[in-house]
Subunit: 210 residues, 2 copies
DNA sequence: ACACTTATGTGGATGCTGTCCACATAAGGG
DNA sequence: CCCTTATGTGGACAGCATCCACATAAGTGT
C-alpha cells in the first residue's frame, strides 16, 4: 500500500523496521514464500542491496517475520482469554481459559493464514529460544500460554498428575493439526460455522482424553 | 544419481515418468520447494522446455509428485497394518489396526519428511478427489484407511455412535499435528525413542477422547 | 511410397529472483 | 577537520519459470 515515499535523505532512518513490516505484509497475503527481499526493499523505497545491511540474507528476514507472526499469534490468544466472561468456580475458569487457548490459536490460523504459516516456517525451537521476541503483550509465547493453562487444569485436579508431563506437546499437536488441515489441508474451504464446530469437537475430545 | 544417459534417440520415450521420478527424488531430499523443473529435466537428460509437453507448469509437476507421495504414505500405513500380529478378539484387532494407522502415518512422516511435506503441499481435497492416484496397493487413500479403522472401532462399540460422524477429521488433526511438529516444528530433532513415546502418548489420548 | 498432421524436444529470449563486489554518501569520534 | 564506520547504490552474475519460434520424429490416410 505505502508507495515508496521517495525520501530525500540518503539514510532511510528505520530501514530494518520498514523491511520487517513490508515482510509481514507480504507474509500476510502470501505466506512465507511471498516474503521476497527485492519486493520488501521496493516497498521501503530503497535499493535491493540495502537489505543486506540489516539482514544476512532472505532467510534472516523470513525468520524475523516468523517471530513477528508468532507474537501476533500470542496476542490473539491473549485477547481470546481476556474476552472470557468472569467465572467464580476456579475449575470452570481454568477450563474456559484452556479452551480459549485452543480457540484463539485456531481463530488466528483461520483469520491470518499467511501469518500463521509464516510463524511456523523455520521455527527452530520456539519452546525456549527467542521467547521474548515471539511473546505477546503479557510476555508469554503461544507455547507458554498453553503450558500455563495446563498447569491451571492440573492444579484444579482436571488432569491426572501423571499425565501432566509432556501434555503441552500432545495438546499442541491436536490443535495445530486442525489448524493446518483447515488452512491448507483437506479441510480448507470449510465454512466458518463448520470450522467452529470442528474446533469445539476437537477441544471436547482433548478434554476427555487428557 | 542417474546421470543423464545421453540418449541417442530424439524422443525420450518416457519423459513424463522420468520427470515425475526425478521430482519425487528432489522432494524426498528437500521437500516440495526442492522440486525444480530445470533440475528434473537435467536429470532426465532433456532440455528444460521439454517438460512443458507433459506438465502445464511447475505446479502441475509438484502436484503430480504430491499425489505420488500421498500414495507412498498410504503404502507405509498399509504395511504397518499388515505387520500386525494376528489377534482373536475383534475389539483388540480393531484397536490395533486403528493404532497402526497413526503409527504408520507418523513413521512415514519421520522417515520421509520431504515426501510427507510434498504430500500435503497444495493438497486440494484428497478426501475424495483423485483417490485412485493417491491410494496404496489396497486402493485406499490415507484418509480412507483412517475412516475404515474408525468404522471398525465403531462397530465394536469402541466409539459412541453419536461421536462417529466427523471423527476422521478430529483424529486426523491430532496425528497430523504431531507429525508436523516433529518434522519441522518445535519437536524437530526429537530422538527416535522420544518421538515414538510421543506417538504412543498421543494415540492413548485419542483413544480416551474418542 | 508419400505428403500431412500431430507429438515431442531444442534454442534463444525475457523478466524475475537472491546474492556478490566495488563504490558512494553520510554520521560520529578523535 | 580528518578518519572510521554505518548505510545505501549500481552493476553484475547465476538460477529459475516461462514464452515463442523452430526442428525432428512418429503416425496416418491415400
Amino acid at each position: 500500500m505505502t508507495v515508496p515515499p521517495r525520501r530525500s535523505t540518503y539514510r532511510h532512518g528505520n530501514l530494518r523496521q520498514a523491511l520487517l513490516e513490508a515482510g509481514v505484509e507480504l507474509a500476510r497475503t502470501g505466506g512465507p514464500d511471498a516474503v521476497v527481499l527485492r519486493e520488501a526493499t521496493r516497498r521501503a523505497g530503497v535499493s535491493p542491496n540495502a537489505a543486506y545491511r540489516h539482514f544476512a540474507d532472505r532467510d534472516a528476514l523470513v525468520h524475523a517475520v516468523s517471530l513477528e507472526a508468532m507474537a501476533a499469534l500470542a496476542r490473539t490468544m491473549e485477547a481470546e482469554q481476556a474476552n472470557l466472561p468472569p467465572v467464580d468456580d476456579p475449575s470452570a475458569a481454568a477450563r474456559a481459559r484452556f479452551r480459549a487457548v485452543g480457540t484463539g490459536y485456531l481463530f488466528f490460523a483461520r483469520t491470518e493464514p499467511g501469518l500463521f504459516r509464516a510463524a511456523f516456517h523455520v521455527p527452530e525451537d520456539m519452546t525456549q529460544a527467542e521467547a521474548a521476541i515471539s511473546a505477546g503483550a503479557g510476555g508469554l509465547t503461544p507455547f507458554q500460554l498453553l503450558a500455563a493453562a495446563l498447569d491451571d487444569l492440573a492444579s484444579c485436579g482436571l488432569i491426572p498428575p501423571e499425565r501432566r508431563p509432556g501434555a503441552e506437546f500432545i495438546v499442541w499437536s491436536c490443535v495445530h493439526g486442525l489448524a493446518v488441515l483447515l488452512i491448507d489441508g483437506p479441510l480448507r474451504g470449510l465454512q466458518d460455522p463448520q470450522a467452529t464446530e470442528a474446533t469445539r469437537l476437537l477441544i471436547d475430545m482433548i478434554e476427555r482424553g487428557l
